[in-house]
Subunit: 305 residues, 4 copies
């Protein structure tokens, strides 16, 4: 089936332009708060890497938690199911940085996309490679073909400065033996990942392996078909903080959001998407981003349900 | 795409026959505990109602929570989004009959498939129709074409006798004003629903409207395309108690399990399934049932991811 | 040491009269909400039963949770330590009718003074005597010497009408086997106890056995010295809902409050007190009552610390 | 009233000698695990400083959480009620190093004796004095008259090495702005306090100001009568981890325990006690220590209830 994505994207951009309430950018670090909440970009990448876009789809933004998808895939590619002894696969039913559930479950985070879980996945990647953030950057550059893609030092420094909550999570899991990288090193690697800047085009293209059932841009295999399906499943059930149910309801696609205002989404076997608009709702998801994906699935009929 | 379901089912039955650990039947009421844990049946219904089966696919079993899918659909058909003021759509992150989350969220259950949520949905249906269990039975008979399908009085009575936990949930939500049917009436209706006996064939066929994007067996519309998609989304994110993530991971289909050992699943646009085997795992899902669906999606490549 | 209680009481009444913020009466049932929040009475009973009072110290009010002290003492007198298999002795660290802690601790309430614990104590007394509320009333009449003391039917009926939360607690504990009296019977007995009306004079005198190390008004022994000490300890650590620490801090006496606005307190070896003023603070304790007891311990130097 | 403490102590020592189950020493750091679980010492200090003892009452042991009493008193002496904006006064109803309650209450620990609360109190003392552990040591030396009393470097280093849980607590509260000392500095000061070594004699004598209603050994006032009473109240309601209710029940005195096996207790207006035996029960309190204090109050009739 062929989809004429460009006119769909343009129609969506027009409708989003009329959206009254755009939410508010994250303000826990100054670098994120400074962004114009009205900004909007969206890109669709076909299986062969052809990419369509609208709005500021080539402007780099702070990827933040979108990078968790790639880190997870890299660790699964390296050590497979061994990862699941250190982190679960169940929705958290609690805000994304909750310590409560972590305590009830003895230091094993519910899933790889809450902050605690992403720290564990970063710990694994760092143990396996000795250079977690470098490995991730290399992968993103290779997949997107964008060599300028990098991590913003100021944002990483600002994250570190306001990083007490993540430090608490890391020390807490270390107390259960579920993290072994020294906490300061782990946090440095983690914040470098969060601070990666990339455009909608970059991220839509780089997510392609999840629509191609595990195949990378160059045709080599990163993940088995079954593992690629698993990453999509984790995205659908856990990818949008405490709003995974509502996202599945409205959008019906595996997706992962970040507090920088980005969301990546996957139509398995068909295409991948990245949308960006920095205004967030109360649960930390981009208001215009969710609305745009909602319209996309309605206009194209592309949904997993 | 045509699928030759019969050979797939037979291969699955053979493999399941070799499964060493089949779990243990639910034993909270005697009627359920008495069932042979080795029993197994599976049915696939195509969009036109053609049904294929293997094992004890025509033997009625206790549908239990599988009925929650149909009650939810009936209420959405009647009152639409008004339901979502009384129950959420997020995974619970806790065992299925937890009071904890209910308290933190002021009497609004997380989703329609935990017991508290199903009590709320039954309360709505009873308010709308004056006969919740009767309305549900009529719907199941019409969709399955099986007029003998009914509720087992002994099972319902036994549920009531051991119903203190559900009575606690109902009174607790009543204290927040989120249930208005008198609690004893509500519990009677609820237990009658749980006690419905139906076969894999009946339930696979009756679930067909979810694969047909909202159309009933007779071609009339029960739910809009968008609402049908929403029910599938709730099944995928919340349908298997505290194991929704793992079910999505292994099976990758919207599904709903019951402590009677049944599981219904949907391949949107293609077919519906019902599998039954009474031995449960620690989280309350049929061991052989999950294994059979896992094999089905692997053998056919049918998964939403 | 002799204490001239009458002038102290009069000075307190004067100071309380000038108290600007008196809180708000409980309004969960109409009968309690109707009371004048400015009402105030206080009584001190010496060890020999001599009673001093000020304000409306002879006017009956709704004793509510104050009765939990006497029910506890009666069960301890009957079955001793066997009670502690069914209810704990630790502060709850949560509001008084929380279900959360109950669930984490498998149906064993933290202490006898939260609602769940009081339901368990009532269940025990009803099993032991076949007439929990009658037994309690007889004890209060005998100790206070006031034969007119009784339970208000309208209040009891009103409690029952708004009793969903307590019904939930009772069914929940029944589901763990920690309550065996049929829930409707148990609730009737419980609400009858709550609805007992008595004056400050009655209640100060009836509490005397706790200051006399277990001896009743007629000199016979209700509790051993050690058990009387234990009841005082439970009052100090658990007697004022989620404000036990602050009450110990300000007042420094074993005390038990009720949502009718009453508080009883004990100076072991010296005297007992009851104060009443229906305006409550956010944690359910009488504002003027706590203030009056605070002044009493400051003016007399009588505190356990 | 005069008490002949020496024969009471000797009788207790004899009875404790026959105690079969002595519990197990704390083993989270090697230095503590190495102690002989059969060791026992007990001291009683009269108001004038006269001290009686039995067993190893002059042998220094690791004071651990006993020091929290003195740090609390020093901060209250310096800044008074301002402290209570940073830490509560309610029992925690949860194990002593729980993060759960901290999260629900936005970074304000329930009381000064759980680890989180003690970190806050240390943070306050360090802000006020620039040398929290030095200030505490000076106070203990002055009150006990024992100049050799000091902090064990190996124990402090070992605590730091296993300090992830406390680091998590400190970072977590820092994320709410409730701790402002840099976390590594705060932890160093905190672990130095925990590692203080003192004997039963030292600690019983140093606690004297709480029995003298706020007066130090030299007759000068550390705390007002009202504040001294408050410290006793916090000890009674929160001093023995999650067993405060049972301690009040059995012993009936304000007390504070430490995982080194020590317990200090206060009989206001009469005397202070310190008992030491390193074997702990499941809740972290010295088995022989609680038993000895239980016997002491039974034999002397000295209890606050």
């Amino acid at each position: 089936m062929t989809h004429a994505f460009q006119p769909v994207l343009e129609r969506i951009a027009q409708e989003i332009g009329a959206l009254a309430d755009r939410g508010r950018p994250a303000d826990y670090i100054p670098a994120l708060a400074a962004v114009d909440p009205g900004a909007f970009g969206m890109a669709v990448a076909e299986l062969d890497g052809t990419v369509h876009g609208v709005g500021e789809w080539r402007r780099p933004f702070s990827a933040q938690s979108l990078t968790k998808v790639f880190t997870l895939a890299l660790v699964l590619a390296e050590e497979g199911d061994a990862l699941w002894e250190h982190v679960g696969r169940e929705p958290s039913g609690n805000p994304f940085n909750s310590l409560v559930q972590l305590e009830y479950e003895n230091g094993i985070p519910r899933n790889p996309f809450i902050n605690a879980g992403a720290l564990v996945v970063t710990d694994r990647l760092h143990r396996l490679t000795g250079d977690a953030s470098g490995r991730l950057l290399r992968f993103l550059r290779e997949e997107s073909g964008d060599d300028r893609l990098g991590s913003d030092r100021d944002v990483a420094a600002s994250e570190a400065e306001h990083g007490d909550r993540n430090a608490a999570l890391a020390h807490f899991m270390a107390s259960y033996g579920n993290i072994t990288t020294p906490v300061p090193v782990l946090l440095r690697e983690y914040f470098r990942q969060c601070a990666i800047e990339a455009s909608c085009a970059d991220l839509a293209v780089a997510t392609g392996f999840l629509a191609r059932h595990g195949l990378r841009a160059d045709g080599s295999r990163l993940l088995s078909r079954s593992r690629a399906k698993q990453v999509n499943a984790v995205m659908l059930t856990c990818g949008t903080y405490d709003a995974a149910g509502e996202f599945a309801h409205r959008v019906g696609l595996p997706g992962k959001s970040g507090v920088g205002g980005g969301i990546v989404a996957v139509v398995p076997g068909t295409c991948t998407l990245c949308v960006w608009s920095p205004g967030l709702d109360a649960r930390g998801n981009s208001v215009a981003g969710v609305a745009a994906l909602d319209r996309f699935t309605t206009l194209t009929g592309l949904s997993v349900f």
